[in-house]
């Protein structure tokens, strides 16, 4: 359900949802500028904003190439830009910083923060915790969702296999429970990426 609407029954409703998934973009021989222009026209988005954003983060020449000719990073920039330029109420961003170099990650984050609407972002990057203090954060582990937590709170948590008294979240894995608390364990912020959480658990425990 989105805003009381059953997602399966939604038809012809621009401005509700936008996403940066590669699957939703038509495979075409046309350059990025034509694909984006079409998409943003019928999605009710802002093509000039898209063009400006891609130009700043990727270079103007990106617009003249086809999507499959771009590197993984530039492709991610284009897909993010289409999603953000749609100006939808809900913007879904799947790993928006993947394959981007550090400078572009920061620039992209600034753009994401600057866009209105409810942004739902999934990422493994822990460096974001400091940059998004007001966001609600959820942990997704093995198909289950835990939270919400504020990033500031998440920064203080440590992960442990042993039960602790001040447990904040208990994560149920197939291999056993994992406890997040402030008092004992490996600090989450010491992990460059939450992908490393499994490695830590396997190594230590």
């Amino acid at each position: 359900m989105i805003d009381g609407l059953d997602v399966d029954s939604v038809r012809g409703l621009p401005g509700l949802v936008a996403a940066n998934l590669p699957e939703i973009v038509v495979s075409s021989r046309l350059p990025v500028k034509h694909v984006a222009s079409y998409y943003l026209d019928i999605l009710g988005g802002d093509y000039e904003y898209f063009r400006d954003l891609v130009g700043r983060l990727g270079g103007a020449e990106v617009l003249e190439k086809r999507l499959h000719e771009l590197s993984a990073g530039l492709r991610k920039i284009v897909l993010n830009a289409i999603a953000l330029a749609t100006k939808a109420k809900y913007v879904l961003l799947d790993e928006p910083f993947e394959n981007l170099d550090p400078a572009r990650r920061v620039a992209m984050l600034k753009e994401i923060l600057g866009v209105r609407g409810v942004k739902v972002m999934d990422t493994h990057a822990t460096w974001l915790l400091k940059a998004l203090p007001d966001w609600d954060t959820y942990l997704m582990v093995e198909g289950s969702v835990y939270g919400p937590l504020k990033p500031g709170e998440l920064e203080e948590l440590k992960v442990s296999r042993e039960p602790v008294r001040d447990v904040r979240i208990t994560i149920k894995l197939k291999t056993g429970d994992v406890y997040l608390s402030k008092s004992s364990g490996t600090p989450l912020t010491s992990l460059e990426s939450l992908d490393k959480l499994y490695e830590v658990l396997a190594w230590r425990y």
Partner: protein, 312 residues
């Protein structure tokens, strides 16, 4: 607006596709040239004179005048026959590309029809319009080339072999384009619903194979129900509007010149029961509706094709 915008996007995509230009236009031009200069190389006025002389004494007054008329008609029907077949095969070539377009668009289409101004009806209307337009572009090039090539081959351009009803020829192409689109959509969706991407290559050639098999059968040996297949209907209607002669469903297409009253009176051929073109239009429309219905039903059950399945 969404219809035209979608049409413009896909039209641009299709017109920039080199496979469209090669298979639907240049490959067809190659076959038209074969028809004019290779297969038609034995068609000469002298050979016709000999054939005519076996029916009418050559010493008869007016023989040369009859020969001229017969030569005009023979080359006219020959040209119309070749164009009708090529027009069908051009549509079939476009169909191959459309199968791929629809297949790879299933998830984008779901997304766009939900969250854009393009509702499913508008989206598919735009896509159909694009398919019809590229069909007409190809038809325009092919018909112009046919007129020039065959008029040069048989009359050295002193006389142009023009269609009797050009609007009817283009109307048949347009409706043929609609059929082609929905047939292609159905085939693509079958692959999606079966979740077998490896079948895509084979399935995409089904329109081409059916056009060749049914088209050739209809030209040389077929009659009756064979002529009511959608491919044969497109070919027969094109032939009818090119030549202006009635359609006889009990004859193979190569013999349909016999319905020309003037020719049949010269050569004493049997009269045939002719079919109202409206009947053929209604039958073709029925075929289109069958595939529209099938495509809609498959659209409801398909879940799209993921990137992983495409790569695999």
């Amino acid at each position: 607006m969404a219809v035209l915008r979608t049409c413009k996007f896909y039209l641009r995509s299709l017109l920039k596709d080199p496979y469209y230009w090669f298979w639907a236009v240049f490959f067809m031009l190659f076959w038209l040239m074969m028809g004019a200069f290779v297969f038609g190389s034995t068609m000469t006025k002298d050979s016709l004179r000999e054939e005519l002389a076996s029916h009418i004494p050559s010493s008869m007054p007016g023989f040369e005048s009859i020969l001229e008329d017969a030569w005009s008609k023979t080359t006219f029907y020959y040209t119309a026959g070749w164009y009708s077949g090529i027009a069908l095969y051009s549509l079939a070539s476009i169909a191959i590309g459309l199968v791929y377009y629809v297949y790879y668009s299933t998830i984008p289409i779901r997304y766009l029809t939900k969250y854009s101004r393009a509702s499913p009806t508008r989206f598919y209307a735009g896509l159909t319009l694009a398919a019809v337009t590229v069909s007409l572009v190809a038809a325009g090039i092919l018909i112009a080339s046919t007129i020039v090539m065959y008029s040069y081959r048989f009359h050295e351009l002193s006389k142009l072999i023009l269609p009797k009803n050009l609007l009817g020829v283009f109307a048949t192409t347009a409706v043929g384009g609609v059929f082609t689109f929905f047939f292609s959509t159905t085939l693509a969706l079958i692959v999606v619903v079966l979740r077998k991407p490896k079948l895509l290559g084979m399935i995409s050639f089904v329109p081409f194979l059916l056009s060749y098999a049914l088209g050739m059968a209809g030209i040389y040996v077929g009659s009756g129900l064979l002529h009511l297949s959608p491919f044969n209907l497109i070919m027969l209607l094109t032939y009818h509007y090119y030549t202006g002669t009635p359609i006889a469903l009990d004859l193979p297409a190569i013999m349909m010149w016999q319905t020309d009253p003037e020719l049949s009176s010269w050569l004493g051929t049997t009269t045939h029961q002719t079919a109202d073109p409206l009947t053929l239009w209604l039958t073709l429309t029925a075929w289109i509706l069958v595939f529209v219905g099938t495509a809609l039903a498959l659209l409801r059950v398909q879940k799209g094709v993921s990137v992983e399945e495409i790569i695999a």
